[in-house]
C-alpha cells in the first residue's frame, strides 16, 4: 500500500497543465517503460455530425488514421512503420475523438516524424475516402445487424432513448447519412472541429522534454476553433415502459437492452455511491451480481445479466472498461444476454411443445423486479461493505497498461477531475451506506424506461402481445431442471411471472428498417 501511495504522489507531481499553450497536456512519465504512448483527444464526436450527414466525424477520424498524409500515402506509411511494429488508431464516441499512437522507444523520433503529418497535414485522398466510406456503409447496412444481436440491441436502444437528438445515431452513422458524405464534408469537419483549441494531448512512457516540446509545438499548427461546441442533449424520462422489438430471420434467441436517462456522471461525487449499488446489482461480466445470480446461475436462462451507470464500450468483448467514452448525457442500462425463444424451446424439449413465448418476458420481469427491490429495500450493511472493498481494489485494474492509465487521466479532464481513479477511490472510502441508498432512490426507478429486443421473427408478435397485455409469463423450464428446482425458486417464479411492468407501448420493427 505504501508503494502505491508513493507512486500516486509521483503521478500527481508529474501531472501538469501547460498554460502557455491553448492545448492541455497530460503527462505520465514512466522511465522503465519500453514504449511511448501519444494521444490526442479532441472534444468532438458524433454529436457534431450535421443532420443528414450522420457518420461524418467518424469518417473524418478514420480517414486520418487509415489514410495518408501530404507526405506519405497510406501504403508508404505501412511500409515505413512495419519494422517498428508501431500501432496507431482512432476512436470516436459521442463527444470525443481520440488518436492513439504507440511505438517502442527505440523508434520514437523516427515514428513521430512519419505519423505527425497524418494529424496536421492529412491527405484526404479521394481513393482512401471512397474505400473507408464504402466499408462504413457496409458496417451500418449489414455488419451491425448480422454479427452480434447483443451489440445490435445496444445500438438500437441508443437510437430509441436519444431519438431526435444529436446523440441518437450510431457513431459510424446512419445508412442515408453515410451515403450523403463527400470528401468536402470531411475536409470541412476537420477544419471546424479538429482544432488546437478543443484538444488535450497526452504523453506517456519513456520520453524526453525535447520530444514533448516538439509535440506541443507541432500541435499549434492545427486550426483555431471558430465554431461553438454544441452541448450534449439532455433527454426527458420516457412515459412508462416503451418497447421496440426488432425482428430478424434465423435468430436463435432474444437479445435485450434497456435503459433510462440519469443526471449523474463521473463529475458528481454521488457517482461513487451509485457505483456501489450498481456493482452489487450487476457488475459487468462478474459472477457476483444479483441479476447474474438470479437469472443465470439459479435459472439457467442465459450467459449473463448486468447493469451500468454509464456507457460501457465493447461490453461484449472486454471485461474491464475502456477509456475515451466520456459523456455528459448519461443513462442507466440493463443488459440481458440472449434468452431462449419459443421455437427453440419447443424443438429442444418435448414437454415445452405448447410454449408460445420464450424467456424474454420473464427475464425482463425478473431483472426489473430486482431493481425495484433495490430501490425499495436498499443495500444491506454486509453487501455494502463487501462491494465497497471489491471496488476499491477492482478499479485499479482499469489502468493496468500505460495506454489505459493515460487514457483514464485524459478522460478525467473531461469530467473536471485531475485523476478519476485516485479520486474515485477516495470517494469510495468515504461513502456511507445511507448515501448509497439515497443515491439509489434518487436516480433509479422501474416505471419508465426504453427497452429494445432483437429477436427471431417467429417470436416478435407473441412477445409483443404478452408485453403489451401484461400477461402472466410463467417460466418454462425443461423437466431436467424443473425436477431439482428448490421450492423457494418456484415460489419466487410465481411472483415474477405476475409482476406488473408499466408497459405503455410495444412496436415491432423490421431489421431492414433500422438505422436508416
Amino acid at each position: 500500500m505504501k508503494k502505491q501511495i508513493i507512486r500516486l504522489s509521483i503521478l500527481l507531481i508529474l501531472f501538469s497543465s501547460y498554460s502557455s499553450y491553448s492545448q492541455e497536456l497530460v503527462e505520465l512519465k514512466k522511465n522503465k517503460s519500453n514504449k511511448i504512448v501519444l494521444k490526442y483527444m479532441f472534444n468532438t464526436g458524433s454529436m457534431m455530425d450535421p443532420a443528414g450527414k450522420e457518420g461524418l466525424t467518424m469518417l473524418t477520424a478514420s480517414l486520418i488514421s487509415d489514410g495518408g498524409s501530404a507526405q506519405y500515402s497510406k501504403s508508404e506509411i505501412d511500409d515505413l512503420l512495419y519494422p517498428m511494429a508501431a500501432s496507431y488508431y482512432s476512436s470516436v464516441d459521442k463527444e470525443v475523438t481520440v488518436f492513439t499512437f504507440e511505438v517502442h522507444r527505440d523508434f520514437t523520433d523516427e515514428f513521430y516524424r512519419i505519423i505527425k503529418g497524418l494529424l496536421f497535414n492529412p491527405a484526404f485522398d479521394e481513393k482512401d475516402f471512397s474505400r473507408i466510406k464504402s466499408n462504413t456503409q457496409n458496417y451500418v447496412d449489414q455488419i451491425i445487424k448480422a454479427s452480434s444481436d447483443e451489440e445490435y440491441s445496444k445500438m438500437a436502444l441508443e437510437d430509441f432513448l436519444f431519438r431526435g437528438t444529436t446523440y441518437q445515431h450510431m457513431i459510424p452513422g446512419t445508412s442515408s447519412g453515410v451515403s450523403n458524405l463527400t470528401i468536402d464534408d470531411v475536409k470541412q469537419q476537420y477544419i471546424d472541429y479538429f482544432t488546437k483549441d478543443n484538444l488535450i494531448i497526452g504523453i506517456a512512457g519513456d520520453y524526453n522534454d525535447s520530444f514533448k516540446n516538439q509535440v506541443l509545438e507541432d500541435a499549434r499548427q492545427l486550426p483555431p476553433l471558430v465554431k461553438t461546441l454544441p452541448k450534449a442533449p439532455q433527454v426527458p424520462m420516457p412515459e412508462g415502459i416503451q418497447v421496440e422489438i426488432i425482428e430478424k430471420e434465423n435468430a436463435l434467441g432474444s437479445a435485450i437492452f434497456a435503459g433510462f436517462p440519469i443526471s449523474l456522471t463521473r463529475s458528481d461525487d454521488d457517482f461513487a455511491a451509485l457505483m456501489i449499488a450498481n456493482s452489487w446489482l450487476g457488475e459487468h461480466r462478474k459472477s457476483y451480481g444479483q441479476l447474474y445470480n438470479k437469472i443465470r446461475e439459479t435459472r439457467s436462462m442465459n450467459y449473463g445479466d448486468y447493469t451500468y451507470i454509464e456507457w460501457y464500450e465493447r461490453g461484449g468483448r472486454v471485461q474491464l472498461p475502456l477509456a475515451h467514452v466520456p459523456r455528459h448525457s448519461n443513462y442507466f442500462s440493463l443488459w440481458i444476454r440472449p434468452v431462449q425463444i419459443a421455437d427453440q424451446l419447443k424443438m429442444q424439449y418435448e414437454e415445452l411443445n405448447q410454449v408460445e413465448v420464450g424467456h424474454a418476458h420473464f427475464a425482463l420481469r425478473m431483472a426489473i423486479r430486482e431493481i425495484d427491490m433495490l430501490v425499495n429495500n436498499g443495500l444491506s450493511q454486509e453487501d455494502f461493505e463487501l462491494t465497497k472493498q471489491f471496488l476499491r481494489s477492482y478499479i485499479k485494474l482499469f489502468i493496468q497498461t500505460t495506454s489505459k492509465e493515460l487514457g483514464f487521466l485524459m478522460d478525467s479532464r473531461f469530467y473536471g477531475r485531475k485523476d478519476y481513479i485516485t479520486e474515485l477511490d477516495q470517494l469510495l472510502e468515504k461513502v456511507s451506506l445511507e448515501q448509497v441508498n439515497e443515491a439509489v432512490k434518487k436516480h433509479l426507478q422501474v416505471d419508465n424506461m426504453y427497452i429494445t429486443i432483437v429477436t427471431d421473427d417467429s417470436e416478435s408478435l407473441p412477445l409483443s402481445r404478452n408485453l403489451l397485455g401484461n400477461k402472466t409469463s410463467p417460466m418454462s423450464y425443461s423437466n431436467l431442471v424443473l425436477e431439482g428446482l428448490p421450492e423457494e425458486v418456484k415460489s419466487e417464479d410465481e411472483e415474477v411471472a405476475n409482476y406488473k411492468l408499466n408497459v405503455k407501448s410495444v412496436d415491432i420493427i423490421k431489421s431492414e428498417d433500422t438505422f436508416k
Binding site: 502505491q4 457476483y288 440472449p338
Partner: protein, 451 residues
C-alpha cells in the same frame, strides 16, 4: 484473429540451478525473470515478479481443451466443465466463492480453447494466500449437485445462442467439420449443438472428466506481479502439495492426410461475402523451423505491408479486409487466410490472387530486406505489448499450454532469428498444398462456387 499477434519474442538466456528449480534472465526484449519449480506430484509453478504495486495475476493453465474430447457425444465438454468449476465445493459454496473473489477485488474468469482451459484472476497481491486457498479448494475438492450441473448447462446453451448470431462463428464451425475427419479439432470448442443440448444428461461423465484432467500433471500455476518466487512456491507447496497425480492420457485420433481440396459454405445474403483459405499446418514445435517459417511467411504475404493487401484492399478495392496467420496448436491444425469482399462476383478472383501470391513466394522467394523487417516487426510487436501483469501472464500461459514450457517462445524466436530465405521457400512449398486446403465461403449463393 489477435492470436497471431500474441506471438511472443522471448530472447532469454536460460540459467538453470540444480534440482527442479529454474530461472531465466533476459537480455532486453523480455525484461523479466521467469522462475520455475516442478513439484513431485507433477505440478509446475511459474513466477514472474513484475512491478505492478499491489496487483498480482494468478493463472492456472490446464492442458485440456476440446482436443481432449475424444468420445462421441461429448463435444464441448471441456468448456462446459470450465463453467462447473465455479459451482462450489464442500468448503465454499458458489456464493461464498464469489464473495471471496469480491473481497480480493479480482477480475476473475476462465476460458477454454482447443488445447487448454485457463483460469485467471488479477487482484490484490496482498491476498495471494487467499487466492491460493480458494483455487486449490476447487481444483481438488470440487463438488456440485446434479441440479447445479443441469442448471449450468442452460448457461452454456445461452453462450452458444449469443455466439451463433455471428456468421463467422457459423463458418468456423463448418470449416472445422469439413477440414478434419478423425481428429478432435473437427469440432469447435463450443461443441456440436446437439451435444450442447444434451449436456444436462452427462452428470456422471462430468465426474469422470474432473477425475481425468483436473490433476497436477495437467496443470501449471502461473503468478505474475507484485510477488516473489519464494512466496509463490511456498503457497503452492502449502495448498497444492497434496494434490494427487492422475493416470489418464487421452488417445487423440491422428488425422489422416487430406488428399483433395474441400469446401465449406454458409449462405447469407445479408452479410458481406467472405473467403477463407485454410491449409493444414504443423503442430507448434519450437525445436524445428517449420512453424517459425510459416509465421514469417504469413506475415509477409498477408499483413498490411504485403503487396497482396495493397493490391486487393487499397488499390483495386476488391476486399474490405485481408489477413492471415498460423495458429499455434498442440497437433497439426490450420493456417488461415481471410478476406472480406465487396462483391461475391470476385470470390474466385480473390482466391486466385491469394494462391498466385503464395505460388510466387514458392517459386521466387522473398527479398532479404522484407524478411529482416518481418523479424523486427514480430519482435517489437511482442515487446511493446508486455506492459501489465495480465498481458505478461497471457503471453506466458500461451507458451505453457502449447508446449508445456513457459520458455518455449525463447527457442521459437531463436528459430525465427535463424531463418534463411531458403527456409521460407522450402516451408511454403511444404505446407501450402492445394490438396491440404479447405476453401470456406459466405455468400448469397446456395454454394460457395470457388474452385
Amino acid at each position: 484473429m489477435k492470436l497471431f499477434k500474441l506471438l511472443p519474442v522471448f530472447l532469454l538466456v536460460i540459467a538453470c540451478s540444480p534440482g527442479k528449480q529454474e530461472s531465466s534472465t533476459s537480455d532486453g526484449v523480455f525484461p523479466y525473470t521467469i522462475h520455475q519449480k516442478e513439484f513431485p506430484n507433477g505440478l509446475n509453478v511459474v513466477t514472474v515478479p513484475y512491478e505492478s504495486p499491489g496487483i498480482a495475476s494468478f493463472y492456472i493453465v490446464v492442458r485440456a481443451g476440446s482436443r481432449e474430447e475424444v468420445e462421441a457425444g461429448k463435444t464441448g465438454f471441456a468448456h462446459f466443465f470450465e463453467h462447473m468449476m465455479f459451482r462450489g465445493t464442500d468448503n465454499y459454496s458458489k456464493e461464498e466463492y464469489s464473495n471471496i473473489l469480491k473481497a480480493i477485488g479480482a477480475g476473475a474468469n476462465a476460458n477454454t480453447w482447443l488445447d487448454r482451459t485457463v483460469y485467471h484472476m488479477t487482484g490484490n497481491a496482498g491476498m495471494l494466500d487467499k487466492m491460493f486457498e480458494i483455487e486449490s479448494d476447487r481444483f481438488m475438492n470440487l463438488n456440485y449437485s446434479v441440479h447445479g450441473f443441469k442448471t449450468e448447462a442452460g448457461a452454456v446453451k445461452g453462450e452458444y445462442t449469443k455466439n451463433y448470431a455471428s456468421p463467422y462463428m457459423q463458418l468456423n464451425e463448418k470449416t472445422s467439420e469439413v477440414a478434419f475427419d478423425t481428429h478432435t479439432y473437427k469440432h469447435t470448442t463450443m461443441g456440436f449443438w446437439e451435444d450442447v443440448v444434451d449436456m444436462p444428461n452427462q452428470y456422471e461423465y462430468s465426474l469422470q472428466f474432473f477425475d481425468r484432467f483436473y490433476r497436477p500433471e495437467y496443470a501449471t500455476i502461473l503468478v505474475v506481479g507484485d510477488v516473489t518466487p519464494e512466496q509463490v512456491n511456498s503457497l503452492s507447496e502449502k495448498y497444492f502439495g497434496n494434490w494427487e497425480r492422475g493416470s489418464y492420457a487421452p488417445e487423440i485420433p491422428v488425422e489422416p492426410e487430406q488428399t483433395a481440396t474441400r469446401f465449406a459454405h454458409v449462405q447469407n445474403a445479408n452479410f458481406p461475402p467472405q473467403l477463407s483459405l485454410n491449409y493444414k499446418s504443423p503442430a507448434f514445435d519450437a525445436t524445428t523451423k517449420d512453424v517459425a517459417a510459416l509465421e514469417v511467411i504469413t506475415q509477409i504475404l498477408f499483413s498490411q505491408k504485403s503487396e497482396l493487401y495493397k493490391k486487393l484492399v487499397i488499390d483495386e478495392r476488391k476486399c474490405r479486409s485481408l489477413g492471415g496467420g498460423i495458429f499455434f496448436t498442440r497437433d497439426p491444425y490450420l493456417m488461415t487466410v481471410r478476406a472480406s469482399l465487396i462483391s461475391a462476383d470476385d470470390l474466385q478472383f480473390v482466391k486466385d490472387e491469394i494462391t498466385a501470391a503464395i505460388q510466387n513466394l514458392i517459386e521466387n522467394g522473398v527479398d532479404q530486406k522484407i524478411m529482416d523487417e518481418t523479424k523486427s516487426n514480430l519482435k517489437y510487436s511482442f515487446a511493446t505489448n508486455l506492459d501489465s501483469s495480465t498481458s505478461i501472464a497471457e503471453a506466458l500461459s500461451y507458451a505453457i499450454w502449447v508446449s508445456g514450457d513457459p520458455e518455449a517462445f525463447n527457442t521459437f524466436y531463436q528459430q525465427i532469428d535463424n531463418l534463411t530465405l531458403e527456409d521460407l521457400q522450402e516451408n511454403a512449398k511444404k505446407y501450402f498444398i492445394p490438396e491440404h486446403l479447405t476453401i470456406s465461403t459466405i455468400s448469397p449463393a446456395e454454394e460457395g462456387g470457388v474452385l
